[in-house]
């Protein structure tokens, strides 16, 4: 497929050819002259030197100026090609990539995410790169693109997969034990197929069980396989009830994998390390319901239970309780105690109204708090538009219980 802009391959490959070509000519020239001189002026044939020349100004000028011109040309083409890598073509599709030790996550507009980078063939793709821990590198050899992924900043690359197919993605910046296992692929699909894939949404890959989805989302599957193959950590296949030798400190002991062990292994991975594996896993702080969902999957539960969200925990995490008390006292905002269903005086659009604090009102107050402000309080609350429906329902349910 021909594009209206230069693809990364079209921008980079000619520079390789130019520099390699010029270098090869130089190398062969130098080597040939050297070998010729060594043979022609060998001591058996040329017992005494026939020249005592110790320099020549013109030669020095020539072999200073010519290489200078040559390397300046290389510099220029190198720079021009680099600019092509930096300037993302109009209309590129954006994907957000998150790198962690030692897995990838690619999130698409619309909520779909996964560990492989699905893209439509023939369209420019811009990948925004962030890291949650150490330096990583995003490298697709097939498209000649690479960029370091630095914690605390967002880098990007762009590329176009002109033909459908599967292309390797490597982590190029050393990141510890699992560095060489931090590989995945670009899956370039024909445009229609890609659109269908994107629409499948959460029903697609990796979402068979919420626990599995969580394992994938947190990058566990980068090191632990589900099919019994050996990666950096032990496989999850048939893990439940397995008798395993672990090292706790210096001592070995045999344990049976159960809920208590798995929880400890996730939150304090270095306490008991399965024998034969390096203590390489970072500790994870997970919510109780997420942990339960993961363990449910590992236990082999077939019933897909959606992770239960606790409204109170969520309110704490989102920082609601910094301004809204639970005991009836007045804070920066009104107390949440008994709020649900009560009559409140509010200012809406400059008018003072008295309304019932029902679910609809509370929902609006969370998503768009500036719209209706309770009398006697400042309109200082930030909006929380990103709560999912499940989260919103959990919060409302909890507020109702607070009556």
């Amino acid at each position: 497929m021909k594009t209206t802009y230069l693809t990364t391959n079209e921008a980079i490959d000619p520079v390789f050819i130019f520099i390699f070509g010029a270098s090869l000519v130089l190398l062969l020239g130098i080597t040939a002259v050297m070998v010729y001189f060594v043979i022609r002026y060998r001591r058996s044939r040329s017992p005494e030197p026939t020249s005592t020349a110790d320099g020549n100004l013109w030669l020095e000028i020539v072999w200073t100026v010519l290489p200078t011109l040559l390397v300046l040309a290389m510099f220029y083409y190198g720079w021009a090609g680099y600019l092509a890598l930096r300037n993302v073509p109009e209309g590129a599709m954006e994907v957000n990539a998150t790198a962690r030790m030692w897995s990838w996550n690619f999130a698409y507009p619309g909520g779909r995410s996964g560990t492989k980078l699905y893209v439509p063939a023939g369209k420019p793709i811009k990948v925004n790169l962030t890291s949650v821990d150490v330096l990583h590198g995003f490298y697709i050899p097939a498209f000649r693109v690479k960029r370091d992924i630095v914690p605390g900043m967002t880098n990007h690359v762009w590329f176009t997969a002109t033909k459908p197919g599967s292309y390797d993605i490597f982590c190029s910046s050393y990141c510890g034990t699992g560095h060489s296992a931090m590989i995945t692929t670009v899956e370039a699909l024909p445009e229609a197929e890609f659109a269908a894939w994107l629409k499948e949404g959460a029903a697609g890959e990796g979402a068979a069980h919420p626990g599995l989805a969580l394992l994938e989302q947190h990058g566990c599957l980068g090191c632990h396989s589900t099919d019994g193959s050996l990666k950096i950590g032990p496989s999850f296949k048939n893990i439940w009830g397995r008798k395993t030798i672990v090292q706790s400190g210096a001592a070995d002991r045999t344990i049976t994998v159960d809920e208590a062990y798995l929880k400890r292994a996730i939150m304090e991975p270095n306490a008991d390390v399965v024998k034969g594996f390096a203590p390489a896993m970072p500790p994870y702080q997970l919510k109780q319901d997420e942990l339960n969902a993961m363990i449910g999957y590992l236990r082999g539960d077939t019933v897909a239970v959606a992770p239960k969200i606790d409204g109170k925990t969520l309110a704490q995490e989102k920082g609601c309780l910094a301004c809204h008390s639970l005991d009836g006292s007045k804070g920066v905002g009104p107390t949440l105690k008994g709020l649900y269903g009560s009559q409140v005086k509010v200012t809406k659009g400059g008018k003072l109204l008295s309304i019932t604090a029902d679910a609809a009102f509370l929902k609006e107050s969370i998503k768009e708090p500036g719209a209706t402000v309770v009398e006697g309080y400042q309109p200082t609350m930030p909006p929380y538009p990103d709560l999912s429906d499940a989260e919103m329902n959990a919060v409302l349910k909890w507020l109702e219980e607070l009556k």
Binding site: E48, P49, V71, G78, L85, D148, T177, H179, A278
Partner: protein
């Protein structure tokens, strides 16, 4: 270390016995630059061999995909230690510490360096730093697994014993700074009568340029490493984005030293080549001034190109533009040197003795390394090959094919002078052939692997990279066999070989005018220099064959 001779050679034993002192104390507390040079020589050679063994183990693991003989953690520690040992314990102190110390004071007609005790102290700092680095491998959380570049945030978080290793390298830095200081002072102050700046041999010129880099750049590494230790122990957050720090700042600080350090490694090697080529061609070096000047130009411009290690890091595109440009500028003086060396051969009388063989090989391997460096200097192409085996191949061509082969050339060129005995030529040539073949199989495969996209520091790799990895591993075996043969032949010759006297190759620099081995104070009478270092017409032919012992 025991350096004893089986039988007395025909000549006086020079600095080996003219002080009347014997035993280990006469070596490890000696202030004689030649003894200190030999101390360095055996120390760095020992660590070179350690590094070689580690490298062979790495290649063995990479022979086939999957786990071959070690775990990923062990592999990561091994490549880190391979890098640290080779760079900080072998190649940076190598040529200046060993051959710089042995040869440089004699080349300028001095009895010793300016500060002989400081010189001994530098070697002791090297030993202390080395001990700390080695301790870090077996204590605490185990051998560092960060790579020799110690990039944050990984180096700030890993549980391995990074802090102690960093402190060891910090101490090694002081050794390097003090050697640089000593050499600059010596070259300025202790030149013999008539040793004008334009008569200084090019090896000494290269050490002079190197010494300035050692003095100016090494402190930055020291500070950077201390900052990483502070990050680990005190949680200062200097390099932690979550606390307002910047991981990329570390990379800048690290390469501000570590790129000029590349020139600490290669400049003295170029100096050795500039000595050997004219001697074995019996012709003055072509473009003496340009070679001396290009050493200084490389040292100066080389200090401004560190950012080319960071084209993909996320620094600004303007920085990429500037660093790419400066990188190409620093390529020019290197090219000038190569052209001048090759021109020196023209209409000479060339003899392919082992030092010359290694020196000519340097030109070829360094050219391959340097030309592939152009790919890395151009911003567009660097992006594809950065952090791949292409880079690994590139710097092994420059550092091993360049500096390593120059080190071997120097061993065959100067060590007989200091031992008074010499090696056999034929095994040396066979060893050279094996090493040349093994070297190219090993490192050229790496370059191709890099072009195909195999990232570096990979414990395991995809099946498409398997064939070339196998070739590289086989190459490493051939290279190792050649290396062992070379060393056995050389040391057998130095300790038991035929006597080596006089000036058999016809060198015109001052070290060839002193008795063999040189006496403790180097010269019997203070030399007066009346000609340039490559002026062979001043040398009578018969002088070449006889033991001169007098100033030419």
């Amino acid at each position: 270390m025991s350096i004893t001779l089986q039988e007395q050679p025909t000549t006086d034993r020079g600095f080996w016995n003219d002080t009347g002192k014997t035993g280990i104390g006469s070596w490890i507390f000696s202030t004689d630059h030649k003894r200190i040079g030999l101390l360095y020589f055996y120390s760095v050679l020992g660590f070179f061999l350690v590094g070689v063994v580690l490298g062979l183990l790495l290649r063995l693991e990479l022979m086939a995909p999957g786990r071959d003989l070690m775990s990923a953690q062990t592999y990561n520690a091994l490549f880190t230690v391979h890098g640290v040992v080779m760079i900080f314990l072998f190649i940076i102190p190598g040529i200046p510490g060993a051959f710089g110390n042995m040869v440089m004071p004699i080349q300028i007609g001095a009895a010793d360096v300016s500060f002989p005790r400081l010189n001994l102290f530098s070697w002791w700092l090297y030993v202390i730093g080395t001990v700390l680095v080695l301790l870090s491998l077996f204590t605490g959380g185990g051998a560092p697994d960060t790579g020799w570049t110690f990039y944050v945030p990984f180096s700030a978080r890993t549980g391995t014993n990074v802090s102690l290793a960093l402190f060891g390298v910090f101490i090694l830095g002081f050794s390097s700074i003090l050697t640089g200081l000593n050499f600059v002072t010596t070259i300025h102050r202790l030149r013999a009568e008539g040793m004008t700046w334009s008569r200084i041999p090019l090896f000494t010129w290269s050490l002079y340029a190197t010494a300035w880099v050692q003095i100016l750049a090494t402190p930055i590494l020291g500070i950077t490493l201390v900052l990483v230790i502070a990050e680990r122990m005190l949680g200062t957050g200097l390099f932690d984005a979550a606390r307002g720090g910047d991981p990329i700042m570390f990379q800048h600080l690290f390469w501000i030293y570590s790129h000029p350090a590349v020139y600490i490694m290669i400049l003295p090697a170029m100096g050795i080549i500039s000595e050997i080529i004219p001697v074995f061609s019996r012709k003055p070096i072509f473009g003496y001034k340009m070679i001396a000047f290009s050493s200084l130009a490389i040292a100066a411009a080389g200090s401004l190109v560190w950012g080319h290690h960071m084209f993909t890091s996320g620094m600004s595109d303007t920085a990429v533009l500037v660093f790419s440009f400066l990188t190409f500028i620093v390529a020019i003086p290197s090219a000038i040197k190569v052209f001048n060396w090759v021109s020196t051969l023209y209409r000479g009388s060339i003899s392919l003795d082992p030092p010359m063989l290694f020196a000519l090989t340097f030109i070829l391997l360094f050219s391959i390394g340097g030309l592939t460096g152009l790919i890395l200097g151009a911003a567009a192409t660097d992006v594809h090959v950065h952090d791949t085996y292409f880079v690994v191949g590139h710097f092994h061509y420059v550092m091993f094919g360049g500096t390593g082969f120059a080190f071997f050339a120097a061993m065959h060129y100067w060590l007989p002078k200091f031992y008074g005995r010499t090696y056999k030529t034929r095994p040396a040539v066979i060893a050279w052939g094996l090493m040349f073949v093994g070297f190219n199989l090993l490192y050229f495969s790496m370059k191709v692997l890099g072009m195909q996209g195999m990232p570096r520091r990979y414990y395991d790799y995809l099946p498409e990279f398997a064939n070339l990895n196998m070739v590289a591993t086989v190459g490493s075996w051939i290279l190792a066999i050649g290396l062992v043969l070379m060393l056995v032949n050389l040391f057998k010759g130095l300790f038991k070989g035929a006597p080596f006297t006089g000036n058999p190759w016809g060198g015109a620099t001052l070290e060839w005018s002193t008795p063999t081995p040189p006496p403790t104070l180097n010269f019997i009478t203070e030399p007066v220099v009346t000609h340039g270092p490559y002026d062979y017409t001043a040398l009578k032919h018969d002088v070449r064959e006889a033991d001169s012992g007098v100033t030419p």
